[in-house]
């Protein structure tokens, strides 16, 4: 124990040879760079999505950014750390998306929607999907993006949750056509700029985010306030090299402040939307589960209406590998490399067997919820609210209800 602590301390002072953590991380980044080069030679779009995947996974890992705890901890711990990061990300993405959409559809009230923004039908399916997803993410200890980056950190339970997620998405694709007839096909796609204009819709969205922020502060103070996490003291810097070392440690070793992580994720989402489409990936994971089911002759039927919708709507088939495959796998690798560099990779095995059951069932609920809500906390929320679409807010409200129910359940599973 002492020798390990001493080694970490030596790293902090930047003394001696690069540590094992640094070498491992360099190896992982080298492999990631080689994949980037190979992908670039096949298709520049593959390379672009690989780079975005790496960046998203790295930032999620460094910021310990978790949508499940953003909602859950308001109820469970009276703590808004993650929600504040989410809100800042939404503010930045809303401004960026508004600028892009105003160029795509200059006259908002003609009836055209921005082609790739996540303006989705908002109805009973969105609400029920939100509740199921909210319960599931709290049970599993992470939403889809949270489980993805924790898989890269070595959490075995997150791999189990991901398996459940694939199962839940598959079940939802069997029931998609029923939901299409019952709710999706008649539910309105409400895009705020159509009635409020581009600026009006942005102002209303920012005011609503501000109101949520005040609510978060109120919850924190009612629960007894928050204290900042204790930080290890910065060593006194006496040279440019020492400054750079300190900066490197802040980026690659220490956890990022949540507001920085939220702002970077919001900015990356704007860049990805500018390049092609908003951040989201449950459609791709659903495709994997459908392909696997197809191998045993249990492929889901063709999905009504799905090909006309944007966002994370379930995709039936698009070859074996497409650009989205690079995004999802890139998130694993980015998180894995980030965890290695910080010395935070560890195979974590839960001591209680009940955690596996919890993660699996949480994953199934999340999968079914994401399937019918047409996205997870990313596609149906983090990319939908900035699309200035009402479905993002509907999903968020019911996600909060589900997270509250989830906290009641996990308190009983000690």
């Amino acid at each position: 124990m002492t020798t390990r602590a001493a080694r970490v301390h030596a790293d902090a002072l930047g003394a001696g040879a690069p540590s094992r953590d640094v070498l491992r991380a360099l190896a992982a980044w080298t492999v990631a760079a080689l994949v980037l080069l190979m992908a670039y030679r096949v298709d520049t779009q593959f390379a672009r999505f690989w780079a975005f995947g790496l960046a998203f996974g790295f930032v999620l890992q460094r910021g310990r950014f978790c949508f499940a705890s953003a909602f859950r901890d308001l109820f469970l711990l009276g703590h808004g750390r993650n929600m504040k990061g989410v809100l800042l990300g939404l503010v930045i993405a809303s401004i960026g998306f508004a600028i892009v959409m105003a160029r795509q559809v200059p006259i908002a009230d003609l009836g055209f929607l921005p082609p790739t923004a996540n303006v989705l039908p908002a109805g009973v399916h969105t609400a029920l999907g939100g509740v199921l997803f909210g319960v599931g993410m709290v049970l599993a200890g992470g939403c889809v993006s949270g489980s993805l980056y924790r898989m890269g950190e070595g959490y075995v339970a997150s791999w189990v949750a991901f398996a459940g997620l694939m199962g839940g998405l598959l079940v939802s694709s069997y029931t998609w056509n029923w939901w299409w007839e019952a709710s999706m096909s008649t539910a309105p796609q409400v895009w705020l700029p159509r009635s409020l204009g581009h600026s009006g819709a942005l102002i209303v969205t920012l005011l609503a985010l501000g109101a949520v922020f005040i609510g978060v502060l109120w919850i924190e103070h009612r629960a007894g306030g928050v204290v900042p996490a204790p930080r290890t003291a910065d060593e006194v810097s006496d040279s440019v090299a020492a400054d750079l070392r300190a900066l490197g440690r802040r980026v690659f070793v220490r956890g990022w402040p949540i507001l920085i992580a939220g702002a970077v994720l919001g900015g990356l989402n704007v860049l990805l939307f500018t390049a092609q489409e908003p951040w989201g990936f449950t459609g791709e994971v659903a495709r994997w589960s459908a392909e696997l089911a197809g191998l045993v002759g249990a492929a889901p039927p063709p999905l009504l209406g799905a090909s006309d919708l944007p966002g994370c709507v379930i995709v039936v088939s698009d070859g074996i590998v497409n650009h989205m495959t690079f995004l999802v796998v890139g998130m694993w690798v980015g998180s894995f490399a980030g965890a290695l560099g910080a010395g935070e990779f560890k195979v974590r095995v839960p001591a209680q067997p009940v955690r596996y059951a919890q993660s699996l069932s949480g994953g199934v609920l999340m999968g079914y919820g994401a399937g019918i809500a047409m996205g997870c906390t990313i596609g149906a929320f983090f990319s939908s609210v900035p699309s200035l679409a009402i479905n993002g807010w509907v999903f968020a409200v019911f996600l909060a209800v589900g997270a509250w129910i989830g906290t009641l359940i996990i308190r009983r599973i000690a």
Partner: protein, 78 residues
């Protein structure tokens, strides 16, 4: 003498929940609780939870993605 709570391997949010319930179960005479965790997000949430119950948090990096948190009862709060 100090009690140690080992929450290694636990999934989110059990490291925080089990720390809170262990702090609540300490008798008035017990001044410190040591928590061993491999769950980095707990470093951001436990200090606030501990402070609300009258404890200060010191974080020690053990290495290998493990941390030891020493929670000590605040003087004025006892």
């Amino acid at each position: 003498m100090t009690k140690t709570l080992d929450v290694r391997g636990e999934i989110c949010p059990y490291p925080m929940m089990r720390t809170v319930s262990a702090l609540k179960k300490l008798s008035a005479g017990e001044r410190t609780l040591e928590v061993v965790t491999d769950h980095a997000p707990a470093l951001d949430t436990i200090p606030t939870q501990a402070s609300r119950l009258g404890f200060e948090t010191a974080v020690e990096e053990v290495g290998g993605s493990e941390w030891r948190l020493v929670l000590t009862r605040k003087r004025e709060a006892s």
